[in-house]
Symmetry: C2
Subunit: 184 residues, 2 copies
């Protein structure tokens, strides 16, 4: 029964994210975390303990291989390389429609929704803080944009960055709007 076995047990999103990073270059768990911080981490996050737990599973299921790299001045490290099977699985997942429509679960919006149960000041505080965060995020994204705009290097990352920018702007507009109203 399990001879040709379409070993098609769906991977977790984190596993696909890791495969995505590995598809660019062989690297260790530690390196994956640095890489994530500088890019993919803006759209998908994972705790380091989870990265380390995901990697051996990828190897076990044939989506990656690992080898030990000995180092002199730094601790030795396990580096992981994506396999053909891994690439296939990743691409299949990438090409199938996105399952859930980013279901709405926001503690912030929940508090706003229940705004009538708190003091006006507390609510205004939440919204002001949201605005500040959006503004800080916007500044961060603009700085990144200045670096990568036009550069071909990561066009797709640039697309997601532009979503980030659009969303920050939307937050700022919305918070301004709401604050004006609440203060009137």
């Amino acid at each position: 029964m399990a001879t040709t076995s379409a070993n098609t047990t769906r991977l977790s999103t984190t596993e696909y994210a890791v495969l995505g990073m590995l598809s660019a270059s062989e690297c260790s768990g530690y390196e994956l975390q640095q890489i994530a911080r500088a890019g993919i981490g803006y759209v998908w996050t994972a705790a380091k303990s989870q990265v380390y737990s995901v990697l051996p599973r990828l190897v076990r299921d044939g989506h990656a291989t690992s080898r030990l790299v000995r180092q002199e001045r730094n601790p030795d490290k396990q580096v992981y390389r994506i396999t053909a099977k891994g690439r296939r699985a990743l691409r299949e997942w990438l090409e199938e429609p996105v399952e859930d429509a980013d279901s709405a679960r926001s503690p912030f919006l929940l508090k706003v929704f229940l705004g009538g149960l708190m003091s006006r000041d507390a609510l205004v505080g939440h919204i002001e803080r949201r605005r500040e965060q959006a503004e800080a995020e916007l500044a961060e994204y603009l700085a990144i944009e200045r670096e990568i705009a036009g550069v071909e290097r990561n066009y797709y990352g640039y697309l997601t960055l532009r979503w980030g920018l659009a969303q920050c702007e939307a937050w700022i507009r919305w918070t301004d709007n709401v604050l004006e109203e609440l203060r009137a």
Copy 2:
């Protein structure tokens, strides 16, 4: 040691959401789900099994009380009522700053980020679908807006609705933009 004991074990967001609904009216688990679908569910979702598991916990910790309501033509039901302690806990949570800044975890954006690893067509398909979803959502929200705009009933729900509208519009603008670019 545990006499005055500030029984301040943080509740889960779902528990606060339930308390929020209970603070408007006494109701059963089943009713909570209907109510959620018509409002708070747009900003916070919970599986029904979780609602049922959360309710006894609220009672156990003194945040709610429950009593059995006998019915003739329908099954009997347990109805839950928020206590003073529950209201206090809810209000405290509501007034403290929102903890996490809605950390970025979007399978959709992850796929866009890795757009270079799939066919152009697949990526365009994802974006088109995103646009359609945004448009459908927008229509839904506009319909709700027509019903509740101006009505005082749920001003705070209206605020969150306006965020929903703003976000849908941002999605549509972004997808249009990206689609134009990808097709050129």
